[in-house]
Symmetry: D2
Subunit: 339 residues, 4 copies
């Protein structure tokens, strides 16, 4: 077995702890330090339980660790770009949660630093590593459905988040649908050229207050001519609804929502299958491990990262075009930026 | 269009009326007379509503009708054989509900008369004409699953019938499982050689009182070496459960219970499909029409009947072996009778 | 049984013959005359085989029949309005195939005549009478899914029609998606306020030549606030793809494509279900009979028609807004017209 | 986190290595020694790769390890009883692969030793820990289906094993169906009273040569009156077929074969789902980990083992009755032995 990668964790909130728990259980990694500016006793004891030897409020202690080989960036979105730049300066690999940043200029700077330094950067589009979606993509790219004509993505949360979450989220397109924008590029194998967004508030008035939408339908035109449509809702009423469908020239591929078990119950009222997995923690549990295994493999084998900074930028650019379209009521072009 | 077949109906109970309604709506037939020894005003007005011109208590009025070309025998089981013999004597075709008879000697006499006269006789094993079972059989006979190794049939009523029905039914093997014995021969394309029957009372004590079983598992050995297993219950709790599975050397074919619609409903408790069709009237509605259409076609084209007197006899012989096995607790040979 | 309605058929092309065959087999109707300006020997012999006593090239012979009680209008679209007006003048009921007309002014005139005369008019939106869609709508209207938030309709033909058909069709929105526009109003129980249409050519260059699209995604805003999205393709590659999904505040309802049988086949390559029904003739076969049965019932009981001229007009107005949107690239309001 | 249990492994064949890999990756255990009398260089290097510090041909080196707390017995079946007795003598816990032994006298001696010493013993009926089967059992025991009337188990291997395997397996009932006998008791919550077995050779003549069956149908009578039926085949032709169905007084529960992904592909030939998981390594992968996690929990919390020596004995006694029935052709009583 190879020597584990010495990794530092930035951010110990919900998603930072999720990654830390996974990394701690993987032989490919050794967490040598973690930092969170909002560190509280709970975070500290959780980190300790995972055997993280050094926990502080200051990210510099992580970057300054003499043996550091990689950082896992799961801090507040607006800090991502700066941490990527610091990783580039220290010449260490970085795994960065989505989105890279909500500010496109800062993303450009970060990606320039990455390019110049040649460090490895992976963006955390975890859904690419879900076995159902990954299998669907593999079949599409093998030509099973022929030329892609139409992509459909349904992505719905079980129930709305809090007002605090929504008010700071950047809006439905960059917070929630950004996963689907990445998935769209992944599935179709082509860039998105134009975006049309129709959003409204139907689930909870809190979205009105936050000047956000909770239900949205977005139409995509890809550069290869294919059409796409994504629907998002903050309230499915039945669990985490994550379905993808690809209509091609030869047929149609689709995946379905997994349940925790395949048990069926038949009575006079019908045939009842088990509930769909509740939320992303259940549905993408294995995918979170898979994406980090791939990150380790790419570092070890010196191969390209499976989701690059370029990918991370495109998703933000599509979200930005969706924001513009929601205002203009017409198709908006996705900006092209070369790094 | 050809001239309709002039047919008489014997028996105007539940199944006789069901057939009469179907026959009355089919251009292939014209009902010219009907008789039922227990004729009551309800039956009479139902028959009249279908436009049957002559209704009586005396079956002879049907047989004596000068234009009669065929009879549909849906009277009490113990009258079937005699009616078949009369049809043979008058040289007219007969469609006879299952079972031919519960008495094997009487069946022999009836089939001898059929053979001697050369009349056409079809037995009402309606399930062969269900599109799901028929498609399954077609695929099996085309070799889709390879050589048949194991046949499984599940056949369950939604809820137990009355004591009166059960007490006069002849028991679960000849009344209920006889359909499955016919289906077994139809699917495997081989005769049943030995039968092992295990029955018990679990649904309702009325079966105890009637010296009958309400739940039964029967193992079959076919002459071609294949194994079979049938389970029957008088209470599924969820509708009419009718499933067939064929395991072959190359794979497995199975059919599923149809519902009235394909609508799914997803909520926090699961994914709910519509109830299975409730009973044989819903499930085999089209099949009842199909079997009579085939009867008309065979008369018209002078081709063999799709379910013969031989088929009818075999199912009764298997049921008789099952009855013996339920007593002896061991495999019993199916009797062979040549007509 | 009531006396059959004496009906005349206008148009003996594919859809006219389909209706004629159904009407001829239904005890509720008696076809007393039929006309088609392009009458050919084939049509004539088909009509004769159905027992239609009078067949001509001149529609007036139908309207002038002394016993006529209703007309079934299945002629070229541009003749519909005029025939409706003639029915109004003669005070007879009319069943008119969709669309009422491609010209909105002519529709207005026809509906004014209907209003003034008080005759019964049913428009042939057959999908409302499909048992799967009808069951879904019933559940939605019973509140099973709560308030409707998002409607999704997928509607795809198995493979493209001929250039001749396309060139005279009026385009994908008025020819094909008009069914989905009607279904959208039926499911949501609210009018469509705004439409956004994105169409392109991906299936066959013949659509380019005909200045039409073969693949289209349309976003709808309903007056009750709900969103809708419809996708159409002229080539599914796997049969007639007709699925509807309603996301509500309490859960999600959806229907699935039926197959001819429920048989499954399992082998090393997977679990294989039977093909989806091929095209509208198979899928909506029963629905075509159901809509005419309802037409007869409404005439007989003097109750409102299940699909009215108002319904027919709305679908055309939505299609017209979609046409405008496909040009403007933005949301277009659906015109409101009061008759 | 608690201190890991120091465990020794007996047997490094296929199943021993599978367990060793799982145990090595679980924080609950530390493997301190392993032994296999047929130790070869491959086994040795595999064991080394897992970090097992001591590997020998002599099981005594394992039992004699001064820190040993538990043994995992995955050696040849005829050695199980003796190893259990040695564990009892040293007062350490034992996890023993199924079956305990093929010789019932030896099982009695082993279980007496366990009883006298009070050591913890878990038998490796892994299927109880599969999430689909476990969920089904939980629902049955919660009364979801009401009183159990009929249990059906289908259990089929993808393709026949080698002659060498079969010749030493003890036959289909004790080698393969023993899992189903355990599952039957687990699901119904009642002991098996009588067994009827019908077996034959349909998959491969090698079974004839080994005086074994490759296809078998077994009927069970439970002491609570329920009926059961199990079908086994050594060749499903489509992967590892593992389905359970429980018909109760209120409805029917069933589980289905999982696939590696939920992707569907629709084309003109049908709707195709992904293949069923191929064999027990894929299907019961997580269950193998779960059973050992439970073993650790029971040791740690000093709670009863989830599958006891009593359970292990009953399954062997049912298999023994099945062997007798296959010869006698009638129901055979399951022997009752009290330890």
């Amino acid at each position: 077995m190879c020597k584990p990668i010495k990794i530092g964790v930035l951010g110990l909130g919900r998603i930072g702890m999720l990654h830390s728990r996974n990394v701690a259980s993987m032989p490919q990694f050794q967490i040598i330090a973690a930092a969170d500016p909002y560190l509280n006793p709970d975070m500290e004891s959780n980190a300790m339980a995972l055997g993280i030897p050094m926990v502080s409020k200051d990210p510099q202690t992580v970057f300054d660790h003499p043996e550091i080989e990689a950082v896992l960036i799961a801090s507040a979105t607006e800090t991502h770009s700066d941490f990527i730049i610091q990783a580039a300066e220290r010449n260490i690999a970085a795994f960065c949660e989505k989105p890279i940043d909500n500010n496109i200029e800062r993303i450009e700077k970060a990606l320039c630093a990455v390019k110049k330094s040649g460090i490895k950067l992976q963006i955390g589009f975890v859904r690419r590593f879900d076995r159902h979606h990954a299998r669907l993509q593999a079949l599409v790219s093998q030509g099973k459905a022929g030329e892609v004509n139409l992509l459909k993505i349904t992505s719905r949360d079980p129930s709305p988040p809090t007002y605090e979450y929504v008010a700071n989220s950047g809006g439905i397109y960059v917070d929630m649908m950004i996963h689907d924008f990445d998935m769209a590029r992944f599935m179709v194998g082509s860039e998105v050229d134009e975006v049309f967004a129709a959003g409204t508030v139907l689930c909870d008035p809190l979205f009105e207050k936050a000047h956000d939408a909770d239900t949205a339908v977005v139409t995509l035109k890809f550069t290869n001519g294919a059409l796409g449509v994504i629907d998002n809702s903050r309230r499915s009423g039945f669990g985490y609804d994550q379905r993808i469908e690809v209509l091609g020239s030869k047929g149609c591929l689709m995946d379905q929502n997994p349940s925790d078990s395949n048990v069926l119950y038949c009575d006079n009222e019908g045939i009842h299958a088990e509930p769909v997995q509740h939320f992303f923690l259940e549905r993408y549990n294995d995918a979170f491990v898979n994406e980090l295994r791939q990150f380790a493999n790419s570092m070890h084998d010196n191969t390209p990262m499976p989701v690059t900074g370029f990918d991370g930028l495109q998703a933000v650019l599509i979200a930005e075009a969706a924001d513009r379209s929601a205002v203009s009521g017409k198709f908006e072009k996705v900006r092209r930026i070369s790094i």
